[in-house]
């Protein structure tokens, strides 16, 4: 079975810049009404860490699901 991942976004630090949303190859993330990034399709995540690495506010961690 393919690995699954959890994307944790610390909303207090997220400034809603949208970089993570635009960069995600699997369209896992979306901007909420509160202008924060939220993982709406976590099951599609492939754990590439691109959203994490690009976040200028260091708000994201991506971890393999136990």
């Amino acid at each position: 079975m393919a690995k699954k991942f959890d994307i944790d976004i610390f909303s207090k630090w997220c400034k809603g810049c949208g970089l993570c949303i635009a960069i995600c190859p699997k369209k896992v993330l979306e901007l909420s009404e509160q202008v924060k990034s939220v993982p709406v399709r976590p099951d599609d995540c492939i754990g590439c860490h691109q959203c994490d690495n690009v976040c200028p506010d260091m708000a994201i961690t991506v971890k393999e699901r136990d």
């Binding site: 400034k15 970089l19 690495n53 976040c55 200028p56 506010d57 260091m58």
Partner: protein, 275 residues
């Protein structure tokens, strides 16, 4: 929150940081922290120094020995720190204005000396902090608050400047390659034992530069950098005409047998003591 070893290097009580949403400088800080965490350098053995500018706000957020100094003068302070404590790992961050305009002289002479410091030039092609004045890296024809009809002056190529001045490690990446930034930074930090390492990271300031140049959103700038980056190996096969407006990324100089300044200085001390 970032992964644990990166979080450990942050003064979390000062987060979120002051930079605008999406500012390229945050991507650079993140890459520096991942590089330092991967190299497992103890916090009290790391010194982060800076001058003045949006870029230079970085040391305030990093939980290590930090130094926020005078505009253009960070390398002079960093040189003093290195001379007093050669064992420290020093990452000196500066903006394009800080490092190549007011601080240009300190920059070339630190390169010439080959002192063991890793200098990161966070090049957003503008004076971000003070309202978008043109810097030595504002492209010809680009708009700035001091260039309302387009910048006239030709630009500095920071990597060529560093190479010409004698830096023994020189490389460039853009914030559109965060993983490559991390890899280059790791090499440049390890190079401190051999001497002065310069890493130009092309960043962006959508607030002061982008708004005047049809790239007002962070993503417009990110895509611009991504689309215009060319790896050095590929660039070597291209003509000057084809390379116009492109950003060449990769490693330009890496002199493995270079001799670092504090070591050579110790030899002078030994000679003087014998005399």
């Amino acid at each position: 929150m970032p992964r644990e070893d990166v979080k450990k290097l942050l003064r979390t009580k000062f987060m979120p940081h002051i930079w605008c949403p999406g500012c390229g400088h945050g991507i650079i800080m993140h890459a520096i922290l991942r590089a330092l965490a991967d190299l497992k350098i103890p916090q009290d053995q790391i010194c982060i120094s800076s001058g003045i500018g949006c870029s230079s706000r970085m040391p305030g957020y990093i939980d290590a020995c930090t130094l926020h100094t005078a505009h253009g003068r960070s390398l002079a302070f960093a040189t003093g720190v290195k001379m007093a404590n050669p064992g420290l790992t020093i990452v000196n961050v500066m903006g394009d204005g800080d490092g190549t305009a007011i601080g240009g002289n300190h920059f070339i002479h630190a390169c010439r000396r080959n002192i063991g410091i890793t200098a990161v030039v966070m090049n957003n092609n503008i004076y971000g902090m003070t309202g978008g004045q043109a810097s030595p890296t504002t492209p010809e024809g680009a708009f700035a608050s001091t260039a309302p009809y387009g910048a006239v002056d030709p630009t500095f190529d920071i990597c060529k400047l560093a190479e010409g001045a004698g830096a023994t490690f020189v490389a460039r990446a853009t914030v559109a390659q965060p993983a490559m930034c991390e890899q280059i930074l790791k090499k440049a930090i390890l190079h401190q034992k051999k001497g002065f390492a310069v890493v130009e990271i092309v960043s962006f300031c959508h607030t002061q530069f982008g708004r005047k140049n049809k790239r007002s959103r962070p993503m417009d700038n990110f895509n611009f950098l991504k689309d215009n980056s060319v790896m050095k190996a590929k660039a070597d096969t291209m003509t000057a005409e084809e390379l116009k407006g492109k950003i060449i990324i990769g490693e330009f100089v890496n002199i493995e047998d270079a001799r670092e300044y504090t070591e050579r200085y110790d030899e002078v001390i030994a000679r003087a003591q014998k005399a």
